[in-house]
């Protein structure tokens, strides 16, 4: 909120002089326990990795191809999520219509659908014999088992993440700034571009990061819908899955690469969002 800066205590200062935080001490202890629960398993993996073989495993042709494919498809999927998800979040957060609750619940479904079933559903829809298969083949488009299919599968499972984070951010931001902007003569599209989106940029960004992460880790739906063709549809998680059949150590080593990429993306995103708004 504007104009009451003195109450917004942290004053952008970090460190011990940062003013009022007001968290009870016991909370930090519980939080540390929670963090340990996630960090210990990661440490356990790191400990188990055969570090002498690591470079060789990670730089094998198939690993590199899989990593490249994963990064490009996840980026594409994230873009699709932003393009399709932002309007959905806006409609869910800012307008009221009968059946909205149901729509919201349905949009969340890919979260709960086991990914393999999601893949089957996509196959039933976009596959050659699927709902839209006929239409698509008439148009000369063949999606299944192509890189496009990977992107679609990733978008399908990642979309709810973007919609949810963004809807939450929109709801907490409220609509009052938009109202003011409208009375200042800004058309709805201008309001969207110059007020709404900048205001919820942190929410949009964290939604995008979540989507990217989910797309990066996506496995079941991709395997079913897009198959596992090296360089075309075999993303890093699929490579890990296949490696596990023959060489479990290699699989674990590759997982670490996935983890490293994800940490990098998340950290970078938070860095840039920190400097952008707020």
């Amino acid at each position: 909120m504007t104009g009451t800066a003195p109450l917004a205590a942290p004053d952008r200062v970090r460190g011990p002089r940062a003013g009022f935080s007001g968290l009870p001490l016991w909370l930090f202890v519980v939080a540390a326990l929670g963090a340990l629960f996630i960090l210990l398993p990661l440490a356990a993996i790191v400990v188990r990795v055969d570090w002498t073989r690591f470079p060789e495993l990670v730089t094998s042709e198939s690993s590199i191809a899989a990593l490249k494919l994963s990064l490009t498809t996840s980026a594409a999927a994230t873009t699709l999520c932003i393009l399709a998800g932002t309007p959905m979040a806006l409609v869910l957060a800012r307008s009221a219509f009968p059946g909205q609750q149901v729509l919201r619940a349905l949009v969340l479904l890919p979260l709960v659908l086991p990914p393999v079933v999601g893949g089957i559903a996509l196959l039933y829809t976009f596959g050659r014999q699927g709902l839209l298969g006929g239409t698509l083949s008439t148009l000369g488009v063949d999606i299944a088992f192509s890189t496009t299919a990977v992107v679609l599968a990733q978008t399908f499972v990642a979309l709810p993440f973007l919609v949810l984070s963004l809807e939450g951010a929109l709801r907490s931001a409220g609509g009052r700034y938009e109202a003011v902007a409208a009375t200042l003569g800004a058309s709805p599209t201008t309001v969207l571009r110059r007020v709404t989106i900048p205001l919820v940029l942190p929410g949009l960004l964290s939604g995008a990061v979540l989507s990217f992460a989910r797309a990066l880790g996506e496995f079941g739906a991709t395997l079913t819908f897009a198959g596992s063709l090296q360089g075309v549809t075999r993303t890093l998680p699929l490579e890990i899955y296949l490696q596990r059949e023959t060489d479990p150590d290699a699989a674990v080593a590759l997982s670490l690469v996935l983890v490293a990429v994800a940490v990098l993306v998340v950290a970078l995103a938070h860095r840039s969002s920190g400097s952008a708004v707020r």
Binding site: L123, G127, R128, Q129, L242, P248
Partner: protein, 235 residues
């Protein structure tokens, strides 16, 4: 079969859908095939057999299907998706995998009743085989977990979580050093069949050529190295 490996069509792309456990063998085979048929390309798609079957049912662009069990292949054949009669090209059989040092002291199938055992669920081929062996030996097992794939069984043995697991010979061989194998003589009576066939309709000429490579001497040698047994008609 046997003799010189046949040549396929030139400049063709053959898409092969193969069970995940065949990855190592089939990647070598594909290289070999491409080397001998310049200009042609083999695209490999690996997943669980039933995943692959679902994909083919949904119209996936497969030319060759290699399944790790007979029922899945029959499912496709009945649906008219396999060109002609699919052929068996390898067999596999169960063995007991134990963590290094065999901490629970498992010496044979009968010892499995008293230890923390992990097996496959009866719904999947490796579980079905385990059930048959129980019938033959009369030993009743109560696994702490009935997994949906051999990989999961093996993973739990490697991590030391289970005292023993029922896996295929090829799996135990691939994980040599991380697990020890204790053989089950009765397992020879309930082998697991690997079948291969060209996908109908419209498989290119090269499809049959690739199948012949698998069933031919090159394929059989590679399969043998990986621990597979030869098919029934070829002792």
């Amino acid at each position: 079969g046997g003799g010189a490996d046949p040549a396929g069509g030139d400049g063709e792309t053959i898409t092969v859908f193969a069970a995940a456990s065949l990855r190592g063998v089939f990647e070598s085979l594909a290289e070999d095939y491409e080397a001998r048929n310049p200009g042609s390309e083999v695209v490999l798609n690996f997943a669980g057999s039933s995943d692959l079957a679902t994909q083919i049912e949904a119209g996936a662009p497969a030319d060759v299907f290699a399944s790790a069990d007979a029922p899945t292949m029959e499912r496709l054949a009945e649906a008219g998706l396999i060109d002609g009669e699919p052929g068996e090209f390898a067999r596999n059989r169960l063995t007991i995998a134990v963590p290094p040092g065999n901490p629970a002291g498992v010496e044979g199938f009968t010892d499995l009743a008293g230890v923390r055992l992990v097996a496959c669920a009866p719904q999947v081929p490796c579980g079905a085989a385990a059930t048959r062996i129980q019938e033959i030996t009369g030993v009743r097992l109560s696994p702490v977990s009935e997994e949906s794939s051999v990989t999961e069984v093996l993973g739990k043995v490697i991590s030391g979580e289970a005292d023993a697991g029922l896996v295929y010979v090829t799996d135990a061989l691939a994980a040599a050093g991380k697990v020890e194998a204790v053989s089950i003589p009765e397992a020879a009576e309930v082998p697991n069949s690997y079948l291969i066939g060209a996908v109908a309709p419209g498989a290119p000429e090269g499809a049959q050529a690739f199948i012949d490579t698998v069933t031919g001497s090159t394929g059989q040698t590679l399969l043998k190295d990986a621990g597979f047994q030869p098919p029934a008609d070829r002792p």
